[in-house]
Point group: C2
Chain length 203, copies 2
DNA sequence: ACCAAAATCGAGTGCTCACTCGACTTTCGC
DNA sequence: GCGAAAGTCGAGTGAGCACTCGATTTTGGT
């Protein structure tokens, strides 16, 4: 189907390097929002990091809100693609591997922690994203715990839903303490200890 | 000792109602910082809440930083004084009672959660406060767990220091999820479940 | 090679920010 | 009830904010 068949409209697509540029900008914005938060970070800050004019950024992301949403999406795809964490091996392996990977990318953890708390405010542009994310995490881990329960690996009296919310909470809280004082908290070790308390030992 | 004995300096103290005014301002600032964070909240916002001019606030708190530090101090004394949580009855009672009280003061919890994450940045005026606070909390709860261990109430294999950091983390993380979706998370119940997993049942 | 769309940017725009200044009013020790 | 300090505030100040506009350069399909 040619453009002529579609009528006289022929909008051109972006240039070859545009996608790359976009990613550069989003990566810089991730740094800025991690350091100063969404409210505290500015287009000018991001422009200084990427070495472009503030106006050019606005060509790619018309509003600050658009930039934030791109950053959140970027974080998801980046962490999933680059961590190489095996799925379908149970939540224990998944969570421990991911938490160990996270130690190497403190910037992304800081980004997540800072934006999550900022997003408590209902009018924050990231609010819906984080409400959905926490809901999905709880649902996913609850299913993981239920799978373990069906193998008899869940200790008696442990509720999969409570354990799921607690796992998410524990993980987030540990990362917060780790960001505040990296030498004092060992996130993967504490998560491992939690699993030891909730699950029966593998024979 | 009279002022004459001290020389010709005679600085007058504040008016009778000044302390009250200060507290009104700090309470308003707590609301504002809870809703919009430190960076997102302004003197003008606070002035609108208390019904004073922005300039008058600056008479009591010369910089925004001063106002924040007053807010943090206020939160501590207010929560300790008004919650009426019994100390010296072990960390279990203390934590559960405090967490149940917190459900009734969501504003103060939001303030704490928002400011803690904002304070990850080392140049944030609340940074030192929260680093110290997390350290003190971990140390205090670790001592609490050790006291339980000496009574044989800690399950074998549980490290008091890891349990202390985990308790703080779990609590903070649960409050974050509760603020995002109040209907979906029960903070005191999840904390009770954690104690059940870590401690042996009372006979 | 053409040329329209895409990309870049300098120069604004109106707004809000933390904070200052100078003048006025209120308090309260004497 | 005098007077000086404490309190109050309107009117700035300079900086930074997200975002706009108009003009110029770069690209790439034809």
């Amino acid at each position: 189907m040619t453009t002529e068949e579609l009528g006289q409209r022929r909008p051109r697509g972006p240039y070859a390097k545009s996608a790359e540029r976009r990613e550069t900008i989003v990566a810089a914005a991730s740094q800025v929002f991690a350091s100063h938060g969404y409210r505290g970070g500015s287009f000018q800050d991001v422009a200084n990091v990427v070495g472009m004019s503030q106006t050019s950024l606005l060509h790619y992301f018309p509003t600050k809100r658009d930039l934030l949403l791109a950053v959140l999406e970027y974080r998801d795809t980046k962490l999933v693609n680059e961590s190489g964490v095996p799925l379908d091996e149970g939540i224990v392996c998944e969570v421990l591997a991911q938490s160990e990977y996270n130690v190497g990318v403190p910037g992304l953890i800081e980004l997540y922690t800072v934006l999550a708390s900022e997003s408590i405010s209902p009018d924050h542009p990231g609010h819906a994203y984080f409400v959905a994310r926490f809901g999905n995490l709880r649902a996913g881990y609850a299913e993981g715990f239920r799978a373990l329960a069906s193998e008899g690996r869940l200790r008696p009296g442990v509720d999969p839903d409570v354990a799921a919310a607690s796992l998410v909470a524990l993980w987030d809280g540990l990362q917060l303490q780790w960001l505040m004082a990296p030498g004092e908290v060992d996130v993967p070790a504490a998560l491992r200890a939690y699993f030891d308390q909730v699950l029966t030992p593998t024979p």
